[in-house]
Each structure stands twice: as C-alpha cells, then as structure tokens.
C-alpha cells in the first residue's frame, strides 16, 4: 500500500475535512484546485477582522500576513478564527477551520497536517509558505492540546 493511499483512509480525517478533501480530488488541474481554494477563502466560519490582527496572533514564517486565534464555544467545541491577506493562505485557514469546527479539542490536537497533500495542494506550499502553514498548524494543535488538558 502506498503512502498516499494510506493517508487517504476515510477514518483519518474529521468528516467535514474529508468532504473537502474529496471535493479537491475531483478537480481537473491545479488551476481548478486554486480556484476552489480561493472559494473557501470566502467561507471562513469565524473570520478574524483586520482590527483584531495583532502581533500575538500573527503566524510567523508566512510570506503573506496571516492571523489565527482559537476559542471554545458554549458546547465545549473548538473554534478556529483566522484571516490572511492572500487568498491561498486564507483558503487553507478556512478549510482547517471548517474541518475542526465544534470538535472536542482532544480530537483537534490529534489531526495531522497531511490533509494539504491529500488535497493535492502541496505544490502550492512554497518552502516559506509550508513553514508558515506548519507554524500555524502547530500553534493550533498545541492550543487544542492545552485546552484539552485544562478540561
């Protein structure tokens, strides 16, 4: 079994994230995948308004400007708030935010960042952007772990 197939196992991802991954897999080419990603950039479930962009919530290592914050909703579900000036980055934040929305923090803490590869978007992550994305992902994962530990 090759690596890609293994990562594509349905049980690996929360259901909303798996749905998005499947949608990306249906795209014809990279241009279509970028177009879809840009559409997701407009579907942020919890947009962080520009006035709330601070140095504390800025994602380090991104060439473009990106900000994220994590909160817990009244039911104890995880919420990812974020935004970026580039659609590509905001699209990735949106997909992650949709994928983890309302999940228990302990589940969010276990998600792996490989979904970008699964969506065939790896070519769109330049080394600096990949670094920024990994910084963001790690920051979210650690916050979720902390939230889970505190409960």
């Amino acid at each position: 079994m090759n690596q890609k197939k293994k990562r594509g196992n349905m049980s690996d991802w929360p259901h909303p994230l798996q749905e998005i991954i499947d949608e990306f897999k249906e795209c014809f080419d990279r241009m279509e995948r970028l177009e879809l990603l840009f559409e997701y950039a407009n579907k942020l479930p919890h947009e962080l308004e520009t006035k709330d962009w601070t140095d504390e919530n800025r994602v380090r290592g991104c060439q473009s400007e990106a900000h994220v914050e994590c909160t817990i909703d009244e039911k104890g579900g995880f919420q990812l708030h974020g935004a970026a000036d580039a659609n590509l980055v905001q699209g990735l934040i949106a997909i992650l935010a949709i994928g983890v929305d309302g999940l228990p923090p302990s589940t969010v803490a276990k998600i792996k960042p490989d979904f970008v590869e699964e969506m065939d978007m790896k070519a769109s992550l330049t080394p600096s952007r990949a670094n920024g994305f990994m910084n963001m992902f790690e920051m979210i994962r650690q916050t979720a772990q902390k939230m889970s530990d505190e409960r």
Binding site: D29, R30, M31, L34, D85, A86, V89
Partner: protein, 413 residues
C-alpha cells in the same frame, strides 16, 4: 544582427522542460537567478570527472589542472570585465562581496565622523552591512531618496549628500524597478565633490547589471564592484569583488584560515598577497570553472544586442500589462536603459496568489519584497510580483504570459 534565439535556447536544457499539464516552462525569474547553458554545466561536470582536486598546494597532476583552471578563470573573468586578474577577489556572490568591503575595507579605513552614502533603492545586501558597521563604529549612514514621480534617484539630493560622504554605495541597476542608475555621473560626482572635495570611495552593486551590459571596471572608475555569477548564466555560490590593487592593500581579511595563509606560527600569521588574501579555506573551484564557461559563452554574443532584446521585451510586456484592468506597474520601462524587470500588482489579487496562478500555467515569476524593503516602503507597498526577462526569452513567451495573466484577472479579479 539580432539574436538567434533558437540556437541560444538550444544551449539551455532546462528550457525544454514541460510543466504540469504538459505546459512548457516559461522562466521569467531571471533577476533572481538565470538558467545555465550546457557549456557551464559541462565545464563543472568535467572538472569533477577529470580534474577534481584542491588548488594551490599539492604538486600532483590533478592539483595542477585544478589550479590552472581556477586561476585562468580569474584571468578570463577579470578580462571580461576589463580588469587585470589581480583586481578580482572570488566571493560567494554579491552579498559576500559587499560584506568584504564593509568588514575588510570600511572597518579598517572608516571611523566615527565618516559618512556612508547609499540609497533607498538598494538591495538589503547593500544596506544591512552598513547598518551593522554603523552600530559598531559610529559611522553615519545617509540615504538618497527615490523620486516618487520618476522612480529614479534624486540626483539633486545626491549632489548635496555626496559632499560629506567618505564612501558611496549605489546599486547599478534596480532588481525591482528595472531602472539603471546613472552610475557614471554618480562616480564622477563622488570623485570630484565627495568627502569635502577630497573624493569619496565608490562601491557599485552590479549584480543586476552584469547580465545586461558589458561593464568595464577600469573605465567605470569606481573603487569596488560587486557581482554574482548566477545572475549571468554561471553557477550559484560564486561571485566577485573587483578592487583596485592599491585599495586591496589597505584591506584586512575578514574570513581567515586555509588558502589565505602564507605562514602560521604560534606567535602569529602572515597572509597571502592580492586576491588570495581574501579567499580563505578551500575556494569555489568547480564554480570558478563554471563562471569561466559562462563568460566564454556570453562573449560570443553582443551585449548591446542582448540588452536591446531584453529591454524591448520588458517594455512591450509592461505596456501590454498596463492595459489589463487592475494591473499597476512599478518601474520605468520607457527608458532605453531599463533592464528586463517588470514589477507589478493587481488591485484585488494578492501578489502571492498571482504567482501561484501563473505557476499553474507554467510561468515562473517572483513575489515578495525582493530584499528591498526600504524601496517597497518608498513605493507604498509591502511586496510586488515580478517578471524578469533574459536573453533566451521570446516575444511568444511574453505574449503567452500576457494571455495567461489576462485570463487570471478575468477569472479571479
């Protein structure tokens, strides 16, 4: 006579690469690094396959061949730039060359009260070493502003500013605007009016100029000239600092050990004379072979014809881009001295998004601050997208780029 683009392109194996979706590669990131002709690749391979050895020390045959190749590279590259071989110090590139001026010359020859005059148009490599030195030695840095309407240096401010300057550091050709500064006038003014009439030293950053014009270091009349091999068809990892020998004698080494040593005792050391004094450790031997092959390859062509070809491509591309809704060009492409660089932004598509969308069509372009953040600030932006042409680019590639950019703007703008 024009350029035989088919013959030129046949020398660059990478240009026949097909990208995702069977699209041909259109390489438009030449200001970052140029592609390499097969003659350069073969010269480096041949060195490793036949003559690989360290230089200057051993007596065996391979060492002799490596030393001969390394030193004849110095002779021929220096000659290409109109200078004798003892004027050229090999460095890792332009950045290290400028740092060598800062740490090797300025640290030994400038002190508190001296003024370094540079400009808003510089690459970070020509700003940061001076800032570090300024902090260490109390040397003052002054910046000549960019005229916001013409996107050229404010030469009136230069004429005033140069009077107090001990050292003038100016970029020959901007990596963002494509503007070629009037370096001849800058050097003339520096020598006649600089340092209160005693004449200022001048360092020219020629990284973006070397691929576009045949520079004669001696005729240019500056004291230091920094450049990189990889911007002119040569390999990465090597560049040079041209220095007049009488000035080289006043420089201290800033990296020490290995090849720059003459004798070492427990009490002290003596250094080699000339360029070797500044080439510590095992030098970049294969890279010197490669750079030599690049200048040999370029010598077959007329640099003026190359300049006209590249400049025309940039001008025509910029003109066509200006008519695409929402596109704004940053630079001067109406000047016949302009290089192959066209920086631009779209009013609603982020530069990085544009670069990815262009890449999906096989077009390699650059985005970011281009290591020129003060210039970005002067332009009132944080980054730009940039296409940059070189001698192998064609009108068809320019047209294909315009077509793809137009479709992106229609679809995403």
């Amino acid at each position: 006579m024009g350029l035989d683009l088919d013959a030129i392109r046949a020398d660059f194996p990478i240009l026949s690469r097909m990208m995702e979706g069977g699209r041909p590669l259109v390489y438009l990131d030449n200001a970052a690094t140029t592609q390499k002709p097969k003659q350069v690749i073969e010269a480096m391979n041949s060195y490793y396959e036949n003559s690989n050895s360290n230089v200057h020390r051993a007596v065996h045959t391979l060492a002799g061949e490596a030393t001969e190749g390394y030193e004849s590279a110095r002779t021929e590259i220096a000659s290409y730039f109109g200078a004798p071989r003892d004027h050229l110090i090999f460095t890792s590139g332009t950045t290290e060359a400028i740092n060598l001026v800062a740490y090797g010359w300025a640290r030994a020859n400038l002190s508190k009260g001296d003024v370094i005059l540079t400009t808003e148009m510089e690459h970070h490599a020509d700003i940061v070493p001076w800032q570090i030195l300024s902090k260490e030695r109390g040397i003052e840095i002054r910046y000549i502003p960019l005229e916001r309407d013409t996107l050229t240096l404010d030469m009136d401010a230069f004429e005033i500013g140069v009077k107090d300057a001990s050292l003038v550091c100016v970029v020959h050709t901007s990596n963002v605007l494509g503007v070629r500064n009037n370096v001849e006038q800058i050097i003339e003014l520096s020598k006649t009016s600089g340092n209160h009439g005693k004449g200022a030293f001048v360092m020219i950053d020629a990284a973006q100029a070397a691929p576009h014009e045949r520079i004669n270091f001696i005729e240019l009349g500056c004291d230091f000239m920094a450049l990189s091999s990889h911007k002119m068809g040569g390999p990465t990892g090597i560049g040079g600092l041209f220095v007049k020998p009488e000035i080289m004698e006043t420089m201290d080494p800033f990296i020490s050990g290995g090849d720059m040593i003459e004798t070492v005792t427990l009490e002290g050391s003596t250094f080699q004379k000339g360029p070797q004094k500044f080439e510590a450790g095992t030098p970049r031997i294969a890279e010197a072979f490669g750079w030599h092959a690049a200048v040999k390859w370029l010598s077959q062509l007329d640099m003026q014809v190359i300049h006209e070809h590249v400049s025309n491509l940039a001008r025509k591309t910029a003109e066509k881009m200006s008519s695409i809704p929402g596109i704004k060009i940053y630079g001067r492409h109406d000047l016949n001295t302009c290089s192959g660089v066209v920086s631009f932004l779209h009013e609603s598509i982020h530069a990085e998004d544009l670069a990815h969308l262009l890449d999906s069509g096989g077009f390699a372009v650059r985005t970011g601050h281009h290591c020129a953040q003060p210039l970005m600030e002067a332009l009132g932006v944080s980054s730009t997208a940039r296409v940059s042409f070189w001698l192998y680019n064609t009108e068809e590639e320019s047209e294909a780029f315009i077509e793809h950019l137009t479709s992106i703007v229609q679809r995403f703008g």
